[in-house]
Structure formats: structure tokens, C-alpha cells
């Protein structure tokens, strides 16, 4: 390691680090700092309040509700979208009539802005004349109000999320599938293994690194994707479909309670760090042996 080398190294890293520090690390630290202060209002400056914001957090039923919602949301969207992504990738990894269309269809949600397609989904879910009700009406079923009932609102949001994510994840799986040597599956087939066994014993294990990568993404998305909530439910009814980031947005930019918004963000950061500790090491090991 020469001196020139490390000066070069530092210089190369510096610009990226400057931006990262300015917009990721520093804000993460000031978030924690500001969570110990009160929100400044026009007439009152911020004051040090110690753990008051955290005490409020513990006693805030909405916080607990959105946190639980977020966990259900993660549980509901991550495995489903990954499973669908794998299925989609397997589907379009073979040649058949209409493959181009199918591949495009799977990918459309990635290209369309979630905020705009949310309006389309709103129509699908609308009671009475909405698409879902029109279709089930043909089979003699009555009206549903999926977005307007607390039991189904979050699930309805999750469906949109899965629709949005699966096609994007498919691309990663598709790329990975194409690197699997066909001889491997051929050999297994000659030995009489059926499709499911081949998938379970050969394909799926070989896709493991991709699954890791995709699941990290999916975990982050389960905290990050809230665009459609703005249009579909606004977090309602009675916060039944609100998620942590949406609550942070409302608290900070609608109620202008930025200190409490910071406190909520600290929880989000803590959650992500926990996941990071779990996933990062796993991820890192894979990276090294590659």
C-alpha cells in the first residue's frame, strides 16, 4: 500500500462519500438528535425535551397500529412477490408463442408510476361499478368494499404492491436463470427427475444469491412503497391501511410535527439496522466467495 495509492483511493471515494454523508449519514444522525427536541412552531422555538417524544411514541396507538400494519405488509408482500417473480421468470425463460407479450406484460408495472396506476386500482376496487364487482357480479355475488373496510383495506394495498414489485424482481431471476447451464437440468431429467424436483433440488438453490439480493430489496420496499396509499385509502379506515413511512409523512408534512416525525424515523432506522445486521452479513459473505 503506497502513500500515493491511498491518496488516490481517498480522492476517488471523496465525491460519492460527500453526498452520502450529506444526505444519508448526517440526516440519520440529526434524526436521532432532533428526536430529543420539541417541534418548533412559529411562536415557540424548539426545546430539549429528553425522552418525551419516545414516551409519546409508546403511548401512541396509531404508532403501534402502523407498525403492526407494516409488519403484516412485509410478511404479505415479500414472499408472495418473490414467489411470483420466480414463477414469471421460469415462464418466460422458455420459448413459446407470445413470450414477448408475456414478458412485457409482467414488466409493465415497473414502468408505470405507482401514483398514477393507483387511480386505476381505485376503479378496480370501487364498490358497485368497479371492475372487481362487475366481474363477481356476473357470478351472482354482491358488492364488495375492499378499500372501505378495515379488514380488507391493507390486503387490497398489498395486492397492488405485489403487482408492482413482482415483474421487477422477475428481471433479476430471469438474468440468473439464463446463467444456469442447461446441461445440469438435462442430466437430472435423463435420470428421471420431474419438473418440481429439478426446481427444488437444482434451480432454486442456484437462484439463492438472487433471492438474497431480491429479498433485501423487497424488505426495503416494504418500508418505502407508500405512493399508492395516498390515492387508495389515505391510510384509512381509521389507520387500518397506514404504514410507517406514510405516518411519518403525515406527521411531518401535514401536521408539521417534525420532532415526532424524527422520532418515528428513528424507529424505522432501528428496524432497518436490525434487518441490516441480519441480512448484511449473509449478503456480504455471498459477495466475498463470488
Amino acid at each position: 500500500m503506497t502513500r500515493r495509492d491511498w491518496i488516490h483511493g481517498w480522492l476517488l471515494v471523496l465525491p460519492a462519500m460527500a453526498f452520502l454523508v450529506l444526505f444519508t449519514h448526517l440526516p440519520a444522525i440529526t434524526t436521532i438528535w432532533n428526536s430529543f427536541f420539541s417541534t418548533p412552531r412559529g411562536r415557540r422555538p424548539a426545546m430539549f425535551v429528553g425522552l418525551d417524544n419516545y414516551e409519546r411514541l409508546l403511548n401512541d396507538p396509531i404508532f403501534w397500529k402502523v407498525l403492526t400494519n407494516n409488519l403484516w405488509f412485509a410478511l404479505g408482500t415479500i414472499p408472495t412477490s418473490i414467489a411470483l417473480a420466480i414463477a414469471m421468470a421460469l415462464f418466460v425463460n422458455r420459448r413459446f408463442m407470445g413470450r414477448g407479450f408475456v414478458r412485457m406484460a409482467y414488466f409493465t408495472p415497473t414502468v408505470l408510476p405507482l401514483i398514477a396506476v393507483a387511480n386505476i386500482w381505485l376503479f378496480f376496487y370501487t364498490p358497485g361499478f368497479g371492475l372487481i364487482d362487475q366481474v363477481i357480479g356476473l357470478f351472482g355475488y354482491g358488492q364488495t368494499n375492499l378499500l372501505g373496510e378495515p379488514d380488507t383495506a391493507l390486503a387490497a394495498i398489498m395486492v397492488v404492491t405485489i403487482w408492482k414489485e413482482a415483474g421487477f424482481f422477475m428481471i433479476f431471476y430471469l438474468a440468473a436463470l439464463q446463467t444456469i447451464p442447461p446441461q445440469l437440468t438435462e442430466a437430472a431429467r435423463i435420470e428421471g427427475a420431474n419438473g418440481w424436483t429439478i426446481f427444488r433440488r437444482i434451480t432454486f438453490p442456484l437462484l439463492m444469491p438472487t433471492t438474497l439480493f431480491v429479498s433485501v430489496n423487497a424488505v426495503i420496499n416494504s418500508f418505502r412503497l407508500v405512493d399508492h396509499i395516498f390515492i387508495l385509502t389515505g391510510g384509512g379506515p381509521d389507520n387500518a391501511s397506514s404504514l410507517l413511512l406514510f405516518y411519518i409523512y403525515e406527521t411531518s408534512f401535514r401536521f408539521w410535527d417534525t420532532a415526532y416525525g424524527a422520532t418515528l424515523t428513528v424507529v424505522m432506522l432501528a428496524l432497518l439496522c436490525l434487518l441490516a445486521i441480519g441480512q448484511f452479513f449473509f449478503f456480504d459473505r455471498k459477495v466475498h466467495y463470488k
Binding site: M1, D5, W6, I7, G9, W10, L12, V13, P15, A16, F19, L20, F23, T24, L26, P27, A28, T31, N34, F91, V92, G98, M104, Y106, F107, T108, P109, T110, V111, L112, P113, I115, A116, V117, N119, I120, L122, G130, Q134, W163, G167, I171, L174, A175, Q178, P209, F213, V216, D227, F230, I231, L245, Y249, F253, T258, M268, L269, L272, F280, D284
Partner: protein, 269 residues
């Protein structure tokens, strides 16, 4: 695979595809028919392009479009430059603090700017940049994901190529530009497409930092356009959605093969 299996799985693939493309089909249906047919699917419905005209007249979509274009380009160029430099350092240089710095970079994979909206807004405000396109772009210019991907690809470049160029007297940046970057082309394409589609569709952060037509990207423009308190006009909203998503849709249609292949070659898996 038996032919029945094959037939079944093809049918499943197509069924799933139809389900997936349904929102797009609905968007097209409403956009090209009068509002009265938003919820009535009769084949004899008259065609009309009036919704596009209405949407175009109702909001400055050309401006929003330009804003998004500038935004996405700025971010992409910034990310390419900054991530390439940093990735090169992490792939080929040994320097004190390297591991700590790399960990800090990877941290951004999890702690994304999308989550730090409260403090990033404070930061942008203290820089006096509220309501500028730069304000939307800045938090994303350096990307942990980008550094990581490009570093992965640089690490696969044979040392010999590097050494050969060095013997010829090429400087560090010149080696980077002439040896590494060309070899990592697929990763740039793959990463570029991911970045473009992500920032084209990003909503929350631009919603927070923009206040005016001059800076608002398409997503925020669309949301403002559609949340009229009087009732949702699906036909016009969907016409607007199609207009503003068309470039990305078309780009994907044209490049989908290269896109998938670049992912494959890029070794993102």
C-alpha cells in the same frame, strides 16, 4: 416436460400476463373512449381522443415532462460519475478506512434517502434549495447500490489489463476510462435502466420538495391533477398517465432483450 405440462404452464403464463397487463388495458380503454364508458365495457363505444386533449390542456404536462427528463438525466449522470470513481477505488485501491467507508456506502442500501424525508428536507432548506430540481436529485446522486454494482463488475476485470495500461504510462483515471468502463458497459445499461425507471416514478420526495410548475416532475403533476376534490375523472387521468408513461413503455419495448441480457452479463443475480 410432457406436452400437457407445457400447455398448462403456457396457459398459466398467459393468464398471469393478462392479469398483470389489465391496468394498462383499462387505462387505454378509458383514455380512448368518452367518460360515460369508464365503467361500461361495450365494444360499440365510440372512440375519441378528446381525453388526451383535455388532459394536455388541463395541466402543463409538457413542463412536467421536461422537469422529469432533466431530473432523471441529472441523477443518472451524477450517479454514473460518482459511483464509477468510488467503485474503482473500492475495487482496486487499498487505503486506510476502506472497509469502514465501504460499509458506510452499503449502509445506504438500507437507509435510503426515501426514508429520511424529514431531515433531508431540513438539509435542503438550509441549503436554500427548496423547490428546485437539484433538490429532488441531490439525495440520490450518490448511490450505495450503484457503487456496489459497479465495484462488483470492476473486480472481474483481469489485473493484467490494468497492469499493461499502467506500463504504457496511463494514469489512474485514464485506465478507468479506457479499460474498466468499456468492460462494464452491460452494468451501466442495467443500472441506468433501473435508475431511470425508479426516478421517473419516484413520488414522495419530489412531492415534499417541490412547490411549483417549474420544478414538479410528472408523478407529482399527475397526483395533483388527479386529486380534484370533485370526483375522479378516470378517462382524463388515464389519458395523462399514458401520455407521461409512454416514453418509458416504448423504451422498454424496444430494449427489453438488451435489458435482460445486460442484467445477465452484469452478473446481477
Amino acid at each position: 416436460m410432457t406436452s400437457l405440462d407445457r400447455w398448462l404452464s403456457n396457459a398459466a403464463a398467459i393468464l398471469l400476463a393478462l392479469l398483470w397487463v389489465l391496468p394498462l388495458i383499462y387505462a387505454i380503454w378509458t383514455a380512448i373512449h368518452p367518460a360515460a364508458y369508464e365503467a361500461r365495457f361495450v365494444l360499440t363505444a365510440p372512440l375519441s381522443l378528446e381525453n388526451f386533449v383535455k388532459a394536455w390542456d388541463a395541466a402543463p404536462f409538457a413542463r412536467y415532462f421536461l422537469n422529469t427528463f432533466i431530473l432523471v438525466t441529472t441523477i443518472l449522470i451524477g450517479q454514473f460519475i460518482l459511483c464509477t470513481l468510488a467503485a474503482y477505488a473500492f475495487a482496486r485501491y487499498r487505503f486506510p478506512g476502506r472497509n469502514i467507508l465501504f460499509t458506510l456506502v452499503l449502509l445506504q442500501l438500507l437507509v435510503m434517502p426515501d426514508i429520511l424525508i424529514v431531515e433531508n428536507y431540513r438539509m435542503i432548506r438550509s441549503l436554500g434549495l427548496v423547490d428546485t430540481i437539484s433538490a429532488i436529485a441531490l439525495p440520490y446522486i450518490a448511490s450505495g447500490f450503484g457503487v456496489f454494482l459497479i465495484r462488483q463488475s470492476f473486480m472481474t476485470v483481469p489485473r493484467e489489463l490494468d497492469d499493461a495500461a499502467r506500463i504504457e504510462g496511463a494514469g489512474a483515471l485514464s485506465i478507468l476510462w479506457r479499460v474498466y468502463v468499456p468492460l462494464a458497459k452491460p452494468i451501466y445499461l442495467a443500472y441506468g435502466l433501473v435508475s431511470v425507471s425508479h426516478h421517473w416514478n419516484n413520488f414522495l420526495w419530489p412531492l415534499i420538495v417541490t412547490n411549483s410548475e417549474e420544478t414538479r416532475p410528472v408523478t407529482v403533476g399527475l397526483s395533483i391533477f388527479s386529486t380534484s376534490d370533485s370526483g375522479i375523472e378516470w378517462s382524463v387521468i388515464n389519458a395523462a398517465t399514458l401520455m407521461t408513461s409512454a416514453p418509458l413503455l416504448i423504451a422498454f419495448l424496444l430494449f427489453q432483450r438488451q435489458f435482460v441480457q445486460s442484467f445477465m452479463r452484469a452478473g446481477i443475480k
